[in-house]
Each structure stands twice: as structure tokens, then as C-alpha cells.
Amino acid sequence: MGDVAIRTDGLVRHFDKFVAVDHVDLAIERGEIYGFLGPNGAGKSTTVRVLCTLLAPTAGTATVAGFDVSSRPGDVRLRIGVALQEAALDAKQTGRELLRLQGLLYGLPKRAMDRRVDELGELIDLTDALDRPIATYSGGMKRRLDLVAALVHNPEILFLDEPTTGLDPASRTSVWAEVRRLNTELGMTIFLTTQYLEEADELCGRVGIINQGRIVAEGTPDDLKRSIGADIIIARVDGDAGPLRAIVEGLSGVQGVEAHGNELVIATGDGPATISPVAVALSGSNVTVRTLTLRTPTLDDVFLELTGTHIERQTTSKDTER
């Protein structure tokens, strides 16, 4: 209990009649990188806004760094850093002015603050740009500045709401490296929301999968993937895959079969041994098989199994920074 950085019990948040967060229970240890994975509209950002004291819970309780977000919001704010989904910057200030203002509001001594601003500028490779108006920054520079603005006061807990959405692969990798460094070198607890499976897989010690406001699964990425089998065979067919379930369900080595639209998802403990019988069985049906793929499970497979839909299909593709 003493090492719990973030805890929610039956957390609920309504917007009028719409239930954005529906009885979410979390217990995140100090020093963890916890990923909150889900499609757009799943309730990730609302949960973050409640934990960051921007929204009050409709029901349930939430404590961050040991303080209740409803009754002790000021104490919570002193201990958290937040980078919300959209970079929250003032384009007319320079990077240095923005970081200094953050430092002032967190009561940092002037000399320490100036040192800190220089350090952070170096950290994100923006030293030369710190005295330019933020309006002149590229999208990636703004995102990096937004991230370090959350770090000025060296928070105990860092909330990152989709920190790499819209970033090019190189910027994404550099954000991941920084998140790892903050966690390993400073022991910072990091609560990260993402719609990218790879990001959750790469960074997070534990992942909570949220859909329609509810946590549908939680565990380490490996445990979650193992929960649906060692291997996955995907058959894409013309038309509805539903009738094919019965054909492959009885085959040796098949642990589970799900049909989703034109996809048949077959969980198996030994993919190489099972794929041939599956191919033979399907070829005997009167449905045309377009592709047959063998791979290890991903978090998307976990999401598919739990919700009946792919996380990536629910997520609107966004332009990456050029």
C-alpha cells in the first residue's frame, strides 16, 4: 500500500448521461511504467484528466502520490507532471519563457530554475531554439517542449497522454528513450496512455486495456499475449468467416477459434504444426481463403479476443509529422 503511486477504486466519470469512465480500478506501484491502452474514445484521456485534478470523479475514489484527487488536489498537483494529448503551449512565448513560468508556478528558486531550464533544453536538443517563439517550432519540437514542461519541477509521477501521437518514427523512438531514462534513472512513475500497441509493448511493465470506459484486461504485455495462446493463425477469407469456425475447432492443436467479419483467428500452442491441418481443412470448404498467416500474438489480438474488434481499426489513423 505504501508503494502505490496511483490508486483508483470504482472510478466513474459521467458527462451528462454518457459514461466515459466506468468503475475503473487501478493500483500502480511507485516506479512502474503503466500503459493504458485503448482506442479513441475508450476513456483513457478522461481517466488522466481525473487523476491530474482537471476533472472530479462522478463516483469512486482516486489517490495520486497518496493524496485524494478530490479533497487534496493541491498536494497532487505539486507531485505530478502532465503532458496532455495535444501540446499545451503558448505560441507567443519563447521556450525558455514557458519553462521559466512553469518553474515560477512550482515555486522553484530562481537560480535552480535557470539551471533546470538549461538542462531541459539540452535534454531535448532545443538549446538553440529555447529563445525563439514557440510559434516557430516544428511539431516534433513542440511535443518535446511540452514533455519537458511537465518535468521542470522533477515530478514524482508523470502522466503522458498519447505522447507520441502524430510524431514521426525517429521522434517517437527518442520519446521512448526519454521515458525509459526518467523511469530507470529517476525512478519516476509513469502513467502512459496510448493507442499504439507497439508503444505499450516496448515501454510498459504493465498494461491496462480499456474499452468503452472499462478495463477489460490488465497484466504484463507478455502475460496478456500468452493468455490467448503461444501462436496465432489468421485466415482472411472472402465473405463471413463465421461458418468456418466449426471446421477448424475440432482440429488437433487448436486451442480457440474466433470469427470476426472475414477473419478467422485461431489460437494454438504450436503454430508450425497446426497451420497445415488448418490450411487443408479450410481448402475443403467452399470459401476462398485469401491469406493464411502464422505469427505470435500481439496486444491487438488480446484486444480482439476481449472486445471482438481490432484496436487499430477503432483508432482513426493520424498524420505523422513529416
Binding site: M1, G2, D3, V4, A5, R30, C52, T53, L54, L55, A56, T63, A65, G66, F67, D68, P73, G74, R77, L78, R79, I80, V82, L84, E86, A87, A88, L89, D90, A91, K92, Q93, E97, L101, Q102, L104, L105, Y106, G107, L108, A112, R116, P133, A149, V152, H153, N154, P155, E156, L186, G187, M188
Partner: protein, 273 residues
């Protein structure tokens, strides 16, 4: 949860430990930011000054002869200078910038720091008062150049600037109320509609005695009428405490109304429920 459950800060945080900055530091930080933005946002302050100077000079040229009936010692350019000042400072505020903060999410960033909510508003307002005071300077300078003199001397000039700035602050409350309530720049811009009845249904151009019928009645209810009287008294009469008292009261009445709306809107915007 007991105090023992509160997690300890990480080691690096000992060096840079966040703490409440204090109300005054919060206010000055926000005011400093708002003031730094003024020279980068000159389009917000240049047109009012231009309009004020334009009407000041044009009205003097147009109406000076017509208003000679004002009596011995009536100097129209002195009469008109307070109107020019109010044209310059009424509606000057950082409310449009606050709307941008709402839209860009920057207000959320501020709200997630330990800053007192009231300091966000007060910081902007202190910047507004400073800007309003600065804006009176070129208008006063032009007035002095064309021969306007204050019967109350330097202290009167300072009182004049202060009253104009306080009026600007009182009026700006409407802009902030709309900014915080709606988060919509178009709605904030619409506050200029309030500007017309306040600034024109009054003694802006001629003395009260020359207003006819309904306009005289309306002017009697318009706080700007009393503000103009107070400002004019500083220029033309000397320390006329009744007029000055009425001017302060007029600002206080309007300010109470606008600030009530403004702080209610702030509570609404920062309410987390």
C-alpha cells in the same frame, strides 16, 4: 489513506522540490507573461489608440465652434480629452488571449500547476491596468501638445490616468466573463457591442445640458456620464470631490457587476465536476 502511505519524493526532487509559490508570485508570474505578450500582439492595442486620437482631433475640429455656447472658460479640447481616453482604454484586455489559452489547452497546463485559480485572472487584470495606463500617455501627450492643461496639476494627471485605468479594468471584466464562459473568440469580440451604449449614450461629445429628451434620461443612468464628469473636473475645474466621488462610484458599480460575472465564469471554468 494515512500520511505514512504518502510516497516519498524521488531523490532528484529534493533539489528541485515543487512547493506552492505563494499568491503574489503566482499573480506576478501571470502578469509578467501577459505583459511580455503585449509587444508581440501590438495589433490588440494599436487600433484603439489610433481611433482615440483620430476622434479626438476630428471632434475638436468639427465641434469646437458649435460648443462655444458652453460658457466662458469652456475649452472643447479639454472637454473632449476624457472621451478620447475612454475610447482608447475601454475594452483593452487580455481576454482574447485567455480564450486562446482555453482553446490551446494552455489554461489546462496552468490549472495542473499549484497556482491559485484567482491568480490567473488577477495576473491578467494587473497587466491590463498597466497597459491601459500606458495607453493614456500618447493621448495625454497629444492633448498637452494642442494646449490642454490640468487645473489639478501633476497629481491630477496621475488621478486621471488611474481613474481611466480602473474604468478599463471594470469594463474588461465583461470580456473575461465571456472568455471564460464560452472559450469562444467571436463571443469575446462581441463585447465591443457593449462599448457603444456606454461610450455614446452619454456626454461624450457635448455637455449634459445640450443632450435632448431621451438621450439625457439615458445618460443619467449611464455610469460613463459620471466618469466623464469626474475626469473633466480634474482637467477643467480642480479637485471637485463630488464629481470625483461619483466617478469612483460609477466605476465601482460597473466593476462590481462585471467582476461578479467574471469570477462566476472563472469558478465555472475551473469547476471540475
Amino acid at each position: 489513506m494515512s500520511t505514512s502511505d504518502v510516497i516519498a519524493p524521488n531523490p532528484a526532487a529534493d533539489i528541485l522540490r515543487a512547493r506552492p509559490a505563494g499568491f503574489l508570485r503566482d499573480v506576478s508570474a501571470i502578469a509578467g507573461r501577459a505583459l511580455r505578450a503585449v509587444p508581440r500582439d501590438l495589433e490588440a492595442v494599436t487600433p484603439p489608440i489610433f481611433i482615440a486620437l483620430f476622434f479626438f482631433l476630428v471632434n475638436i475640429a468639427t465641434l469646437s465652434k458649435l460648443t462655444r455656447a458652453g460658457g466662458a472658460g469652456f475649452v472643447y479640447k479639454a472637454f473632449e480629452m476624457p472621451t478620447a481616453i475612454l475610447l482608447g482604454v475601454t475594452g483593452i484586455s487580455r481576454a482574447p488571449a485567455l480564450v486562446l489559452d482555453v482553446q490551446d489547452g494552455y489554461l489546462d497546463r496552468l490549472l495542473m500547476t499549484p497556482i491559485r485559480r484567482l491568480a490567473i485572472l488577477l495576473g491578467h487584470m494587473i497587466a491590463d491596468v498597466t497597459v491601459a495606463m500606458a495607453l493614456t500617455v500618447p493621448i495625454l501627450a497629444v492633448g498637452f501638445l494642442i494646449g490642454v492643461r490640468f487645473k489639478t496639476g501633476v497629481l491630477g494627471v496621475l488621478a486621471f490616468i488611474l481613474l481611466a485605468a480602473l474604468w478599463s479594468l471594470a469594463f474588461s471584466g465583461f470580456g473575461y466573463a465571456i472568455a471564460l464562459k464560452t472559450g469562444n473568440p467571436a463571443a469575446v469580440n462581441s463585447t465591443f457591442l457593449l462599448f457603444f451604449p456606454f461610450l455614446f449614450l452619454t456626454t461624450s461629445y457635448v455637455p449634459r445640458a445640450q443632450l435632448s429628451g431621451w438621450l439625457d434620461t439615458v445618460a443619467g443612468f449611464n455610469p460613463v456620464t459620471y466618469l466623464l464628469e469626474g475626469l473633466r473636473s480634474l482637467v477643467s475645474r480642480g479637485w471637485a470631490w463630488t464629481q470625483l466621488g461619483q466617478a469612483v462610484l460609477a466605476i465601482a458599480v460597473l466593476g462590481t457587476l462585471s467582476m461578479s460575472l467574471c469570477f462566476a465564469a472563472l469558478r465555472g471554468r475551473t469547476r471540475r465536476g
